[in-house]
Amino acid sequence: MTTTEAPVFSLPKIKNWLPAYGVYVAILLLVLYNVLFTENFLAWSNIRIQLIQVAPIVIVALGMALVIGTEGIDLSVGSVMALAAAFIPLYLGYGVLAAIIVSLIAGVVVGLINGVLVAKVGLQPIVATLALFVGGRGLAIVISGGQLKDVRNEDFIYLGSGDFLRLPVLVWIAALLVLVIAFVVRRTVFGRRLLAIGGNRPASELAGLPVQRVLITVYIVCSVLASIAGILAVARIQSSDASAVGLLIELSAITAVVVGGTPLTGGKVRVLGTVAGALLMQLVIATMIKHNLQPSTTEMVQAVIILVAVYVARERRSR
């Protein structure tokens, strides 16, 4: 290397590079640490458990990433999971497919309400989805009669506990959804419109984009993904408890999206970053549990990670 070349690790370069790829570096370091210092970290059974635990968060976070890409937020995802879970035992008698379809329809309805409130009525996303956050879980508990219901249907349980090509079906579904959403964001007109609206809504309106339709679709997609996560959660734990399914998942999902480098200001969606964000948080929790650290410490570390991620990713404003 000659002295005339610019240094490879100049400060401004790192500043630009860190927000985009910092999360991958963090995962790499954490994995390295675990390989060296954690017993049985590379055991297949451990990797399996980590993947199964992270799958529902990834699925919900994908939808959240799309909503955040439009400069919105969806607080109702946990309630949607509970609603989807509440419908499963009620309709399983009509067949697995019927139960899943009914649960998905519940997701569509919630998403439609959120979307209409945001796009047509013009409410702030946080308030619009707050209403269903409050009401949705209550409704789910009312529907399920406030009881935990066991689910014994073999075909249905396969979704949550079965294997396909040595990997859990749950993980396959999550991976498939990641690919679909990544394709939609990068390669479709809908994806382009979504990013345009998130970047500058008035300009998109003036450019003649169907802003309302795109926004409503985004909220529906987010809710449907949440209800898929709810269905899979029921299939995994083999029972439906509307008061527990998806509790506080909105926080995990938002964290995954933000840590993955998607700005809250909209106009940008990092799909793979979101997956990495969810994996990172999962790894952090797993590492601390393996080293006998208390949940209290884990939570405080999570708080610091969120702050650092957002601080690093914060767009330098021209002001």
Partner: protein
């Protein structure tokens, strides 16, 4: 509602005048509904409840509602200031729980410590929130989300991972929570005084004006020479302090620091503030509206308890539906004012 103001050579000036006056009146009425809507609904619901449930009319029941509303009222008071500056504070639910645990723990050193300790801890977290939001320009939503997790972790750390419930040792502190003066509980008096101070602070002081100005436009406020950052830091400290105090009051009432996770208090507070007519976009809102919003949610809960055989889960459904109706109505009212 929007009256077409017809102008033209053949229309007498008096008619135009009358039309203008009518438009002005509509504007005023709509504005009043927007500001006092929660109060109006509260009055209607109280009348309905009093007519349908004999137990609702009793003095004891009114006292129950007020005592139950005391902690949420304090949290919503702080939230009102934060939201008017255009921010949001998601950490108050965790701070409320943390404040309760700290207060119960500190009560072994007496009444004063039981108040000072939670204020110190929660005020510090509020200060950190405010500094991060004001000086790094990170989104309030994210900063206070992290504080929610951090405060919850802290609460678990001092309570042996949530397994240890500290009992309130100071009998003076316990009697503060359960005693009363003139048949009204001490906590209600304390909250009433603080809410009154809040009203005066927001409406009558330089600081209050700064809060509105920052929420209206940070850039304009800073050009006007308002200390934007100091105002922001102050409102988050206030929010933290009030959440901690609410936790202390709850600990005094229950006689212990209960270590529940995810109290959901922050979202109840936001709902109450929004129902009270404060706009989440910042720059507009009143403490009086927030009082009505908190009482409204409290009365709805009380009514559902009165019905008894209805599942308590309906309360969430009704609160959620109510929130949706109120915010949608508010948006349309705001739009109507702009048209006229």
């Amino acid at each position: 509602m929007s009256q077409q103001v017809v102008t033209g050579p053949e229309v007498p000036a008096a008619v135009v005048q009358a039309d203008l006056r009518r438009a002005e009146r509509t504007d005023r009425i709509v504005g009043t509904i927007q500001r006092q809507g929660a109060l109006a609904v509260l009055i209607v619901i109280v009348i309905i409840a009093a007519a349908s449930f004999p137990n609702f009319r009793s003095y004891d029941n009114a006292a129950t509602i007020l005592i139950a509303a005391a902690p949420p009222m304090l949290i919503a008071l702080g939230m009102t200031f934060v939201i008017i500056t255009g921010g949001i504070d998601l950490s108050v639910g965790s701070l409320y729980v943390l404040g309760g645990v700290v207060s119960a723990y500190a009560s072994q050193w007496g009444l004063i410590a039981a108040f000072i300790a939670p204020l110190l801890v929660c005020g510090t977290i509020g200060l950190i929130n405010g500094l991060l939001i004001a000086y790094t320009r990170m989104a309030p939503f994210i900063v206070t989300l992290a504080a929610l997790l951090g405060a919850r972790g802290l609460m678990r750390a001092i309570s042996s991972e949530g397994s240890e419930t500290y009992l309130v040792k100071s009998s003076a502190f316990r009697s503060f929570g359960n005693g009363s003066w003139l048949d009204i509980g001490y906590p209600v008096w304390l909250v009433a005084v603080l809410v009154l101070l809040g009203i005066l602070l927001l409406a009558r002081t330089r600081f209050g004006h700064a809060v509105y100005a920052v929420g209206g436009s940070q850039d304009a406020a800073s050009l006007m020479g308002i200390a934007v950052r100091r105002t922001q830091v102050t409102v988050y400290i206030m929010s933290g302090l009030l959440a901690g105090l609410a936790g202390a009051i709850n600990a005094a009432k229950l006689g212990s620091g209960v270590t529940v996770l995810g109290s959901g208090m922050e979202l109840d507070a936001i709902a109450a503030v929004v129902i009270g007519g404060t706009l989440l976009t910042g720059g507009a809102g009143t403490v009086a509206g927030t009082i009505a919003g908190v009482l409204l949610l409290g009365v709805i809960q009380n009514m559902i308890n009165q019905i008894g055989n209805v599942q308590s889960n309906w309360q969430q459904v009704i609160s959620g539906a109510f929130l949706a109706v109120v915010v949608v109505a508010q948006t349309y009212l705001a739009r109507m004012r702009r048209v006229t």
